[in-house]
């Protein structure tokens, strides 16, 4: 079972992420699937991360947190966020198969980030949901 994204779809995804997130001060954004594959990643050019390892761990972490939610009787947790001294990481589910991860500094408030992420997610859903409906 595989899925494919073409140049036009990926350009559209990158345009959305750049306009909503990178241009608003987010350092790094990843769109990944729940298997840990990277669909796309953008950054502001300041730092390079080991993106493949990050994606694998992020997908695992998200899966583990979702499983914990179910055990305590929650369908899912609405806010998934890790705070560091300088860098913070935020997870947002797009659909049952895709996840948006943002890395940002303390110059952006969590509230603003969540607003911008949620605007991106609404647009991304239109592109990603038809891809995986039914066969995954």
């Amino acid at each position: 079972m595989s899925y494919t994204l073409d140049q036009k779809q990926l350009d559209r995804i990158e345009d959305i992420l750049k306009a909503d997130l990178i241009d608003n001060g987010v350092r790094c954004v990843f769109l990944i699937d729940m298997a840990g594959n990277i669909v796309t990643n953008l950054d502001n050019g300041e730092k390079q991360h080991d993106i493949y390892s990050l994606a694998a761990l992020a997908a695992g972490n998200f899966g583990a947190v979702s499983a914990m939610a179910k055990i305590i009787g929650e369908n899912e947790f609405s806010l998934l966020f890790h705070k560091g001294k300088k860098e913070n990481i935020h997870f947002n589910k797009i659909s049952s198969e895709f996840l948006l991860i943002t890395i940002f500094g303390n110059d952006i408030s969590l509230g603003f980030l969540r607003l911008k992420v949620s605007e991106s997610v609404d647009q991304l859903k239109g592109i990603l949901e038809p891809l995986t409906s039914g066969h995954m």
């Binding site: 899925y3 494919t4 994204l5 695992g60």
Partner: protein, 201 residues
């Protein structure tokens, strides 16, 4: 589920090493990491407990070069083998494209191998996948222990227990010494890539 990026011409493929606890799944990845470290740009990621057992998974990204104009990125994972970690084992299997089942050839582990293979079938079923259709191979690990006088099952017995019906490619191996580790890896990569190509055409 493999992801094919038509813009950057990259295919990402997920291969999971599955099998009973202490069977040598992590040792397989460690050998691959040592052997091919020039080709592997990042560190091997491991999430372990204090006792050095795999808690969540090990992860090793591996570039195998270009096939038909597409760069193939293989992502190798292991699962935690211990019975109690089934929830995390199931998570790692999500979106799997190919599997290496690492069986432990020590005679005392006979039942554990059978249980683990059954557990793999159950976990695959939760993603609507099964061993009849997914690419997978078997590795009979720890064959070198025979030199130390430790009772080892014969390949015929292991085949009878684990591979009687499905007849998948199997390898007698030693992950510690590296015997057949690369052969196992090559076989699963070629089966998995062939299956993705078939799906695309």
């Amino acid at each position: 589920m493999a992801f094919i990026n038509l813009k950057s011409k990259i295919i990402q493929v997920k291969i999971v090493y599955y099998g009973p606890g202490r069977g040598g799944k992590t040792t397989n990845l460690e050998y691959i990491y040592r052997k091919f470290h020039q080709r592997i740009k990042s560190e091997m990621v491991t999430v372990k407990t204090h006792g050095d057992r795999t808690l969540f998974f090990d992860f090793l990204p591996f570039d195998i070069g270009v096939i038909n104009g597409y760069q193939i990125k293989i992502q190798l994972y292991t699962v935690p083998g211990q019975v109690k970690y089934n929830a995390t084992r199931r998570l790692v299997l999500r979106g799997v494209d190919g599997i290496v089942f690492v069986a432990d050839a020590m005679a005392v582990r006979r039942e554990k191998n059978i249980q683990s293979l059954k557990n793999l079938q159950e976990n695959l079923a939760s993603y609507k996948k099964n061993l009849q259709t997914i690419p997978w191979v078997i590795q009979y690990n720890k064959m070198d222990l025979v030199e130390q006088g430790i009772p080892i099952m014969a390949v015929e017995l292991l085949e009878h227990d684990l591979n009687r019906q499905l007849k998948r490619p199997s390898f007698a191996a030693s992950a510690l010494k590296g015997t057949n580790v690369v052969a196992t890896l090559k076989k699963i990569i070629s089966l998995t890539v062939a299956s993705i190509r078939k799906e695309l055409l």
